[in-house]
Symmetry: C2
Subunit: 349 residues, 2 copies
């Protein structure tokens, strides 16, 4: 164990530890010459300060933690990059923490707050179904990003950035309806889902209501209740679509609640000799890059990830600076028309 500490540096430089500390932390009250001497010695010995000790002592550090649930979701990767660079550009440090699907993000958050003395938290992904009590225990500012707020909680105690999943889903469904589709199958998460799956279902229902078209409940294909892992995956979309096809139900379009599921669905249809969009139209949700590069390119609702990422940090720093009011920013999605959909003549439903 090459345990090289600040004391060793101090001894070798013939100065006190506090002087070394001053050199490290860019304190003003230090002789430039001694400072240089110390810094040289530090880089010579490749000394690295122990952050545990630092965190223990420091009353505060300029760092922001990003807690991400669902690291495989491509939509987060762009966001992380932007969030990271925004944070660094403000001379704050950035730490990323993966939260398991079965972990409680508020507990993880509490730990980090105490240990690292962070200034703020970004929660990326996951479903927030925590009690008000739990949220109030978070003693630093935080922003829920791309997270559907739990409407049963007092909205004033947290800030959130997201799209309106209900509205966007409704919009996507209406796009299909306006293109003559009436029998629209939906590939869904679990029936018990209370996150985006549920919200997008509500939007889907709303669209039918708005257009006075009866909704066929049996065209909603739910994921198996006992399946775990990533339900928004290509694999799951593929499976659900196969199931749908096998059921011989009558439909002209499929609304998959994620682009990845849409890909799986198109693959399944293609394998069965069903052409997209000539026979069946397919739409997704998210606006991933792959939606553009897929063949056929996929009609989808694009979430404005860059804007959301930037706004997340903007709001977080607003809170950190002390303008105490929580805000819920809702961003608008954009329908990106791809080659996976077509307008059809109206037929009887």
């Amino acid at each position: 164990m090459g345990k090289y500490t600040i004391k060793d540096i101090a001894r070798e430089c013939g100065v006190g530890v506090s002087t070394v500390s001053r050199a490290i932390n860019n304190h003003p009250d230090i002789n430039p010459q001694t400072k240089q001497l110390i810094l040289d010695k530090i880089s010579e010995r490749q000394y690295i300060p122990n952050n545990s000790a630092r965190n223990l002592k420091k009353t505060e550090t300029n760092t922001i933690a990003v807690l991400i649930k669902g690291i495989a979701n491509p939509i987060f990767h762009q966001m992380i990059d932007i969030i990271q660079s925004e944070i660094l550009s403000k001379d704050y440090a950035f730490i990323l923490k993966k939260v398991g699907f079965d972990e409680d993000e508020t507990v993880v958050a509490s730990e980090i707050i105490r240990e690292q003395k962070i200034k703020g938290i970004v929660f990326l992904g996951g479903i927030f179904t925590h009690t008000e009590e739990r949220l109030k225990e978070l003693t630093v500012p935080y922003v829920l990003s791309t997270i559907a707020p739990n409407t049963s909680i007092d909205g004033n105690i947290y800030s959130a950035i997201s799209v309106d999943d209900v509205a966007e889903s409704c919009r996507m469904t209406e796009y299909l309806i306006e293109n003559g589709h009436k029998r629209i199958a939906m590939l869904q998460a679990k029936k018990e889902d209370l996150g985006v799956g549920y919200l997008r279902l509500k939007g889907y229902q709303q669209a039918f209501k708005n257009h006075n078209i009866p909704m066929k409940r049996n065209l909603i294909i739910y994921s198996d209740s006992k399946s775990d892992g990533d339900l928004f995956s290509m694999e799951n979309g593929y499976k659900l679509a196969k199931k749908l096809i096998a059921s011989h139900k009558d439909f002209t379009a499929i609304f998959a609640i994620s682009d990845r599921m849409a890909i799986g669905a198109i693959k399944a249809l293609t394998e069965e000799g069903i052409r997209v969009p000539q026979d069946i139209s397919v739409v997704g949700f998210d606006g991933l890059d792959i939606a553009r590069y897929y063949i056929p390119s996929i009609t989808t609702v694009k979430q404005p990830v860059e804007d959301m990422a930037r706004e997340t940090i903007y709001q977080l720093f607003r809170l950190i600076k002390g303008s105490g009011v929580n805000k819920h920013m809702v961003f608008e999605g954009t329908i990106v028309e791809g080659e996976s959909t077509r307008a059809i003549k109206k037929r009887g439903s």
Copy 2:
């Protein structure tokens, strides 16, 4: 700041701090009743021990750190999941750390070693072009996973798990050659690249040599030297393919050095009215899920990610347990034939 410490718990329970510590850390020498009392109080107050202080004090902790360079690479997501569960199943803790493309992973590693007193490290991704000296500073066992070993370094000082990029690339190229292709374009990283890009280029060259076919150097399309970010992306594959098409060079197949680049290439070809595989065959590298779900599905070399992930942890624990010999495990890839390639009649080169 709800700074609740072990002292508070001790005071409220009317015991000493060491008793609380014993309760927390499951020490045997404690009265079960006092222990229960303390644990109840802890959960009541939602007390969370400060890990900084723990790390500072402890001489060792059972934790493994995974340093990942290139978090957007889908191939790592499966590996992380497996690595994490393997680590947890051994009752070790797991921490994931994202390393920026411009950061030095050995420095990050040294910091963590000192701060968290970790037992081992997994390096996932990145190019290892560090000096022997630097590697020797890592005082805990580590395994380079999916990383092309730097051959200029004494192989005995580190363990590595990877595929043989040269051999696999050669195999992929030979597959094309054996299917009658002679003019095979390659979509590459930067010309200066010393990582997998370079290795896969060598394999490509080797294949031509093996078959006594002259290699057309001008069919190698390099990424722009001044481009940054992810060169293995769909976007970059798309750009390079467009450039290739515009150059009106004569070729019958494209070898993209990643599946994502292959997708971009197929999209570009399709847009230009060039059919895959009827007019041009395309192959990728990695064996991502999307290669199977793309239309046409993509012929690729599948890396055995699950096996590699498991072996990584196996080797790491072997080192931790003290069987000091470093090993370099090379895994074999598998060619997965997709719909993106076809055999062609031999024509003059």
